[in-house]
């Protein structure tokens, strides 16, 4: 299960990188420096996560899943508030994926997923987010 779970997470990282890269290209470093830095930081972090996942999957003897040619990015997202909202949604989706990975791994891979979930949860706060009760596992907050 670990390899399959890692492949699913890697596919999510490919999508996140595409979306964040697109959003970064629509963000002005001059007029919205905080947002630009937040997206640039998120992009760099996800790139590192992607590379770590590729290495982990290769270590397990599997072929890492490749990125799609393109992913859907909401059209007409060019205002800072809209960009931040989409970036946050992307990070929230990654947090959900990391939490799912926690449930589907053990040992070192699970510890990696726990760390990724924690870091993503904190980083999303830079995108005008507020703390949640259950990052990555929001259904518990709806009980």
């Amino acid at each position: 299960m670990s390899t399959e779970a890692l492949q699913t997470t890697l596919a999510g990282e490919h999508a996140a990188l595409y979306v964040l890269g697109t959003l970064g290209g629509r963000t002005s470093q001059t007029t919205d420096p905080d947002l630009f830095d937040a997206i640039a930081g998120a992009f760099a972090e996800h790139r590192s996560r992607r590379d770590e996942l590729v290495a982990a999957i290769a270590d397990l003897g599997a072929e890492p899943v490749a990125a799609e040619a393109a992913y859907d990015v909401p059209a007409r997202v060019d205002r800072a508030q809209q960009i931040a909202r989409v970036a946050r949604a992307t990070e929230d989706a990654c947090a959900t994926t990391y939490a799912w990975l926690v449930a589907n791994t053990v040992g070192e891979l699970r510890r990696w997923a726990i760390g990724a979930l924690n870091e993503t949860a904190v980083r999303v706060l830079t995108l005008r987010g507020t703390p949640e009760m259950f990052p990555g596992a929001g259904e518990y907050a709806d009980r």
Binding site: G12, W100, R110, L117, A121, M133, P135, A141
Partner: protein, 132 residues
């Protein structure tokens, strides 16, 4: 992306053995009890409840923290905390310790769904510490 449904504490504790974690939260609350052979995460959950309750006992000055700890205890079907107060540096230190403990507990859990819940709690504490 697959997402686990809500799980009662009883289910969380048995999911690792029975492999059946897809039940809705409908179990009655129970008091902490000694772990049994059929309950591989029982003592871990009891330990988590004790640690959250102790940390929440310092957090009365920060309502958001109390709300978070209460929600976490509720997810484990444990009683709500009785908040007290502590100086901010002590509170911050205690929350950081709890965050690390929860991350470690998530790594130790036999049950995948329980591990996911504990990791999420750890991340929630990380967020609160970041804004504290």
């Amino acid at each position: 992306m697959p997402v686990d449904p809500q799980l009662s504490r009883r289910v969380l504790l048995t999911a690792g053995v029975a492999g059946a974690g897809l039940l809705s939260a409908c179990g009655a609350a129970r008091s902490p009890a000694p772990a049994s052979a059929d309950d591989p995460d029982g003592s871990l959950v009891d330990e988590v409840v004790v640690r959250i309750t102790a940390t929440a006992a310092l957090a009365a000055g920060v309502p958001d923290l109390v709300a978070m700890h209460t929600a976490h205890l509720d997810a484990l079907e444990a009683a709500p905390p009785v908040p007290g107060t502590a100086p901010l540096p002590q509170l911050r230190r205690s929350e950081r310790q709890l965050q690390r403990f929860l991350g470690g507990a998530a790594a130790r859990a036999e049950s995948g769904p329980l591990a996911r819940l504990l990791a999420s709690m750890s991340a929630a504490v990380s967020q609160q510490v970041a804004v504290l």
